[in-house]
């Protein structure tokens, strides 16, 4: 998630736990239960989305840029669908670079400032990373999407439950919901409400309470910093997964089944597994549209003996992209660098060391409960300090680490 501060931004959090949001959600569910068919339903979804969007988009100019980007996405989708076989093979690559360029330049107007148009005309759109990625997914998949409608695309990009922090649903999943005319199965209501209640407890009771203690600040003592540092990942998990629980539960009340964003990340035995279990809708999108095309090209074109170093570089590059998606400050750069290096080490271990152990040794040692638990703890411990970089940047993080080990 895009966080220049830790956890969800104040704007998002303030909105989610207000009566305003509660009334809005109840109204949305009631309206969509009463009018669940045809054009009336689509009209209601559109009005709800636009209301929510206007609340968060800062000004008319930002709104126009967003709308223009969606129209451009639709146009590119039409071109790709109609003339896919005649278009050069590098078009998907160009579109991917375009979307990443747009996102990074819009998020950081000071980056390459002489040529960055957003320096003169900055846009203020909460959740822009999610919207641009939905557009990128549509552009790249458009050649295979049979039913393409401008209205459906616009509502997909700005669907209000997922507008602020995902999950990043795939277009055709949204389309199946948006264009269906079915009532909610009564048996689904209780599980949906249960999911929302879980989310409220995780986000507002556990995560916000622990975050309010502010244990992990540069002015804290070494002892508090140690506790705070190791609590960060847990707080972030409760915060973000709690948010997703609310969104997924709310969407279930609209009869929409959103994808899951977390799969027990604390069970990850290495960094690669962590990213396969954390913010899955983002990492799977980056895997599908960035890592996979690069890796397929390498495996198709490069001799087997030379493939591994290049694939490892692809892993590193993908991790840098994940970091830059979250933010473009030096903190995120170092975060990507460290996680990318950890991914490289993980791949090298798999490639060079594990095959030499033999199958029986691997089963005995690598899959044993004690060793697996140790690896899980080490993975958690490795990732925890890197989160300091997100919030505090490299200099302050270094000072905090010095305090923790008694060098300051």
């Amino acid at each position: 998630m895009p966080m220049n501060i830790a956890y969800l931004s104040q704007h998002q959090a303030i909105f989610l736990n207000t009566w305003h949001f509660f009334i809005f959600a109840v109204l949305a569910v009631s309206l969509l239960r009463a009018f669940c068919r045809g054009i009336v339903k689509r009209l209601i979804v559109s009005v709800l989305n636009l209301y929510f969007l206007f609340y968060f988009v800062g000004d008319g100019y930002s709104f126009a840029v967003l709308l223009g980007f969606v129209v451009l996405t639709y146009g590119i989708g039409e071109i790709r669908f109609r003339w896919e076989t005649k278009l050069p093979g590098w078009v998907p690559f160009l579109l991917t670079v375009f979307c990443w360029g747009f996102l990074i330049l819009a998020k950081n107007p000071n980056l390459v400032s002489p040529v960055n148009v957003f320096r003169l005309y900055p846009i203020r759109i909460v959740g822009i990373s999610y919207m641009v990625f939905r557009c990128m997914h549509y552009m790249l998949d458009a050649a295979m999407i049979e039913k393409r409608r401008m209205g459906t695309l616009l509502n997909y990009v700005v669907f209000f439950p997922t507008l602020l922090a995902g999950p990043i649903e795939r277009y055709e999943n949204f389309q199946a919901y948006y264009e269906q005319d079915k009532l909610l199965d009564p048996e689904s209501v209780l599980p949906a409400l249960h999911r929302i209640a879980n989310g409220v407890i995780k986000k507002f009771l556990i995560a916000d309470t622990l975050a309010s203690l502010q244990l992990c600040r540069p002015d804290r003592s070494a002892e508090l910093l140690w506790i705070g540092m190791f609590l960060q990942l847990a707080i972030l998990y409760w915060d973000f997964s709690g948010y997703c629980d609310i969104v997924i539960g709310l969407s279930r009340l609209f009869r929409m089944k959103l994808c899951e964003n977390f799969n027990k990340p604390w069970l990850a035995r290495n960094v690669q597994e962590f990213w396969e279990r954390w913010h899955i809708s983002l990492t799977s999108l980056i895997r599908d549209y960035c890592f996979n095309p690069i890796s397929v090209m390498i495996v198709r074109r490069v001799k087997p003996a030379r493939q591994f170093p290049l694939i490892v570089l692809a892993y590193f590059f993908t991790m840098m992209l994940i970091a830059f998606w979250h933010g473009t400050t030096m903190g995120f750069f170092w975060f990507g660098l460290i996680h990318g290096t950890m991914l490289v080490l993980s791949q090298c271990t798999k490639h060079y060391i594990l095959p030499r152990l033999g199958a029986s040794a691997r089963t005995k040692w690598m899959d044993g409960l004690l060793w697996v638990t140790f690896r899980r703890v080490v993975t958690y411990a490795w990732i925890s300090p890197t989160l300091l970089l997100w919030r505090w940047g490299p200099e302050t993080t270094w000072e905090m680490l010095q305090t923790m080990i008694g060098m300051k």
Binding site: L140, M144, Y289, V296, R300, I311
Partner: protein
């Protein structure tokens, strides 16, 4: 034919000579099925069947059944 050939490829790529594939099998069901072995498997399937997948087709593959259906679509004569 497609099923048996895909199973042979899976056994080789995922280094499991006893692996039995099913249509609903996905990456969660096979220990060695990670992002890298997935790519190796895809390219091996391409080579074996003499076909080529687009990136958007690869992105849509969720399970073994999807892969078999895609091969079938590209090579209808194998039905």
């Amino acid at each position: 034919m497609i099923h048996d050939d895909v199973q042979t490829i899976f056994r080789t790529i995922f280094r499991n000579p006893n692996l039995v594939i099913t249509d609903d099998m996905d990456a969660d069901d096979v220990e060695a099925w990670d992002s890298l072995s997935h790519i190796n498997m895809i390219v091996e399937v391409e080579r074996h069947f003499g076909i080529s997948f687009r990136n958007s087709e690869i992105a849509r593959l969720q399970c073994v059944g999807d892969l078999k259906a895609l091969i079938q679509k590209k090579k209808p004569e194998l039905a």
